[in-house]
């Protein structure tokens, strides 16, 4: 069963065709990675899915419903959630308050406190809970934002470069975190440049190039594809 379905999605910025008739289907329960060179249109595709941009044409279906016309917050309430490329935490607020704001729409009172504690432990941020989020290290900010994103208990989690700026060790830990979430039933779509991460978590990989779906398959199939290697070296049209 498909959870997310993009049908002939198009987006122009002036004369620039950033998303070109993209068809993409995400199955329930899979971890799907989106890769491609800079400017391939990966982040734009995320913004279309989230409703920050509106497509020129095409449809977005989530759990069978057409959500193309919905506002962002309404899509989130249906079970989408995102971690942005640049960590989007509430910098001036404490770590605890960041999580409280994410969790308060589902829990109240003592239950809210318990959920915050549980999430702090899951993210390894217990000792930082009173810290101002802006003072966290880059990796910790990434985790905090992942924590906020997953606290909504989304059916589909979108991760835009979740390991950017992380050490190999932190990258591996993030991968393990994603796998744990997936084991609990969360479907994940991740944009990622780090091939070690993609290899660790991805069940399927889609390569985006010049706004189009260029290739799709398992990581081994993608790595073996000479055309994919060529676009990464900038020789697609050579």
């Amino acid at each position: 069963m498909s959870l997310l379905e993009l049908r002939k999605l198009n987006k122009h910025f002036g004369g620039l065709h950033v998303t070109n008739a993209v068809d993409l289907t995400l199955e329930v329960g899979e971890i799907h990675c989106l890769i491609g060179p800079n400017g391939a249109g990966k982040s734009t595709l995320f913004r279309l899915i989230l409703g920050e941009h509106h497509p020129g044409s095409g449809d977005i279906l989530f759990a069978g419903d057409n959500i193309t016309a919905l506002k962002s917050f309404a899509r989130i309430r249906r079970g989408l959630s995102v971690k942005f490329q640049v960590p989007g935490v509430f910098k001036g607020l404490s770590v605890r308050q960041n999580l409280e704001i994410a969790l308060q729409s589902q829990h109240r009172g003592a239950r809210l406190g318990e959920e915050i504690e549980r999430l702090l432990v899951f993210l390894g941020l217990e000792s930082e809970q009173a810290q101002t989020a802006g003072n966290l290290s880059h990796g910790q900010k990434q985790w905090l934002e992942i924590g906020m994103a997953i606290s909504l208990k989304p059916r589909l989690l979108l991760l835009d470069e979740p390991t950017a700026g992380m050490s190999p060790e932190e990258t591996h830990m993030t991968g393990a975190m994603v796998q744990r979430l997936n084991a609990d039933g969360m479907t994940v779509l991740a944009i990622e440049h780090d091939m070690a991460f993609v290899r660790q978590v991805a069940q399927r990989v889609t390569v985006l190039h010049l706004g189009q779906v260029f290739a799709q398959g398992t990581i081994d199939q993608i790595v073996a594809d000479e055309r994919v290697a060529a676009i990464y070296l900038g020789q697609a049209h050579a």
Binding site: F73, G88, F90, K91, L152
Partner: protein, 354 residues
């Protein structure tokens, strides 16, 4: 019962400075001094103090919208003026019998809030933000000033209330509380003092509870990062609109109280200078906290008045300098900076003692 307790627990929280027995003891002492103060002063001075209190509501409205919400409204005076004129028109037409002045207060504030619903809807649902919000709100208040200034002719009246153009309206009745025997007329001295002070304490505590609630959480989240707030499922526009309307009502309270206090209101109350001054009080005090806004506003107002009385025509220039200094030295506000410094000092001292 537990809901009741947790409601009042929100008097303290991450969004408001001041917590624990030390803060609330100080609060109680200040309350007692403020309640006893009219007994040791003369009517004129008390009336003058009421004048200061009157402005605190519009300062709190900016604290809410700008300090907590992150949207700079340059036109809170528009709501001040609408409510002030509203009170004038209503009471000049219907008088002050049967407690109507209190009803007029509520209606006038409601009219200002309703206007904010309309204006705010177009601004926030049109996704106007940042400096443009300031420009639109400033334009609105200046437009209202211009409009009211040209209503001098006899054709400009609502019922029996003449609008009077640049000279403004006057001679509306003061707030009057119906009382068996003889109604209590709140002239600008002790009577009005207790009324306004009571209202101020109520609003201050209510805002503390509001800002430490889940609603307040979302408001500061929108200030910090509106995109993230939306991506947590919050309809940012709705929250911004509600905050804007509450702020407009607070500015409206200032407008009504000001009109009732001096029994006059003029278009210049919505002019450029009037619009800029609250920004300075709030910025100097510390816009992101209720307590520092109240303290800062009262201190700056008192200093400003002292300057204008004791022969300096440079009071407005002093206000400008004060704003520049605040931005340079303590961008979050001088009072808030001092309060945080005192808090750290107290924490260090208690640590050393224990």
């Amino acid at each position: 019962m537990s809901g009741f307790v947790s409601f009042f627990r929100r008097l303290e929280g991450p969004q408001t400075v001041g917590r624990g027995p030390a803060f609330w003891s100080l609060f109680a002492v200040v309350m007692m001094i403020a309640l006893a103060y009219p007994l040791f002063s003369d009517g004129y001075t008390v009336g003058n103090t009421v004048y200061f209190f009157v402005w605190v509501f519009i300062a709190l409205s900016l604290c809410l919208i700008w300090g907590y919400g992150g949207s700079l409204s340059f036109g809170q005076t528009a709501f001040f003026g609408i409510a002030g004129y509203g009170y004038g028109v209503l009471t000049l037409n219907f008088g002050s019998a049967y407690g109507f002045t209190l009803v007029a207060l509520v209606i006038a504030v409601a009219i200002a809030a309703l206007f904010a619903v309309l204006l705010g809807y177009f601004m926030f649902f049109g996704r106007i933000a940042g400096v443009f919000l300031g420009i639109v709100t400033l334009a609105v208040t200046l437009m209202l000033e211009r409009f009211m200034a040209q209503t001098a002719g006899p054709e400009w009246h609502i019922g029996s209330a003449r609008l009077n153009g640049f000279n403004g309206m006057s001679a509306m009745p003061p707030l009057t509380i119906p009382w068996p025997g003889e109604p209590i007329v709140l002239f600008a001295d002790v009577g009005l003092y207790y009324f306004v002070f009571g209202l101020l304490v109520f609003v201050y505590l209510a805002l503390r509870i509001l800002m430490n609630s889940s609603f307040g959480n979302v408001i500061v989240a929108i200030r910090e990062n509106p995109e993230r707030a939306e991506m947590l499922g919050y309809d940012v526009r709705k929250y911004q609109l509600i905050t804007f309307v509450i702020g407009a009502a607070l500015a409206g309270i200032s407008g009504v109280l000001y009109t009732a206090w001096g029994q006059y209101i003029t278009p210049s109350s919505m002019g450029m200078t009037a619009a800029a001054l609250p920004l300075i009080w709030v910025a100097v005090g510390g816009r992101s906290d209720l307590t520092s806004t109240v303290v800062g506003t009262l201190v700056v107002l008192a200093a400003f008045q002292a300057l204008t009385i004791y022969g300096s025509q440079y009071a407005l220039i002093f206000m400008g300098v004060l704003l520049v200094l605040t931005v340079l030295i303590a961008p979050n506000g001088l009072v808030l900076g001092a309060m945080n410094w005192l808090g750290r000092l107290a924490a260090r001292l208690t640590q050393r003692v224990s």
